[in-house]
């Protein structure tokens, strides 16, 4: 995370000189300290990320494929006059304990065209779908399975 902050500083500056690098080291350290102290961040999350790196990359690939698939399904419904849409509000539970992973799941559902997360309280999800076919099997989708595996690998951090 410290290295990412330093990289972000260098990228925003646009070029690498010794002066920029020295300032970056100091500022990145300050921000890292702030994150640990006030934003509930701790270095053991990095261990968790390192353990899950393959799953995280697979998750992104699957997410992009799903986005393209459902985007095509939505565009069919936009341009064709024959298909009447039947909007649907789906309530379902997920058994994911970690709050961050639930946030990731809610954001992935919203990113996929055709479905929007309306409400999340604890582990009850409320999802609005443009058409009932887009919400089919949402309560045991591939995202939830992958996030569960990631949570098991993390073992409590």
């Amino acid at each position: 995370m410290y290295i990412l902050l330093l990289l972000f500083w260098i990228i925003l500056n646009g070029k690498i000189t010794l002066e920029i690098f020295a300032f970056g080291v100091v500022f990145a350290a300050a921000i890292f300290w702030f994150m640990c102290k006030f934003l509930d961040y701790s270095p053991r999350y990095e261990l968790c990320v390192a353990r899950n790196i393959i799953w995280i990359l697979t998750y992104f690939v699957v997410l992009i494929i799903e986005i393209f698939k459902s985007a095509i399904a939505v565009y069919k419904r936009v341009y064709s006059k024959k298909i009447e849409i039947q909007p649907q509000m789906v309530f379902f539970d997920v058994d994911i304990e970690s709050e961050f992973l639930r946030f990731v799941l809610a954001n992935s559902i919203t990113l996929t065209p055709g479905t929007i997360t309306v409400d999340v309280t604890d582990n009850h999800f409320c999802v609005h779908a443009l058409d009932y076919t887009l919400a089919e099997g949402i309560e045991n989708s591939v995202f939830i399975k992958m996030l569960k595996i990631m949570e098991e690998n993390c073992c409590g951090c």
């Binding site: 972000f8 990228i11 925003l12 646009g14 070029k15 986005i67 985007a71 939505v74 565009y75 936009v78 341009y79 849409i85 039947q86 909007p87 649907q88 509000m89 789906v90 309530f91 379902f92 539970d93 809610a106 954001n107 919203t110 990113l111 065209p113 055709g114 479905t115 929007i116 997360t117 309306v118 409400d119 009850h124 409320c126 609005h128 443009l130 009932y132 919400a135 309560e139």
Partner: protein
């Protein structure tokens, strides 16, 4: 030359996505349905246009900044549409007329 064609294809696809979002906004009548289509302009459209531009200028500091822009778009846009959807779901009393409700939970 190949890079130019590839980037043109990506930008063309992105503009198409944004036009589709525009058409969809007029095609549907209810707020949540309109938002479903409108949110794709943020994610898919912006991404495709930015990827086209990245291919066009090659890898340097500006294209790395564009990649950071993509990440911010993907994190920020769902939060925005989530808040709009929740406000609509709380404020609208006749929401059951617009969509059927299916429950898989055990409340």
């Amino acid at each position: 030359m190949i890079r130019l064609i590839l980037s043109a294809l990506f930008i063309f696809a992105g503009v198409n996505v944004i036009i589709t979002a525009l058409v969809g906004n007029y095609r549907f009548s209810y707020v949540l349905n309109r938002m479903q289509v409108g949110a794709t302009a943020d994610t898919m459209g912006a991404i495709l246009v930015l990827i086209g531009l990245i291919i066009k200028i090659g890898i340097n500091m500006i294209s790395i900044k564009m990649i950071i822009m993509i990440i911010f778009f993907w994190v920020a846009s769902p939060v925005c549409s989530h808040f709009l959807a929740r406000t609509e779901a709380i404020a609208n009393e006749d929401i059951l007329d617009e969509c059927e409700v299916v429950r898989h939970d055990n409340i």
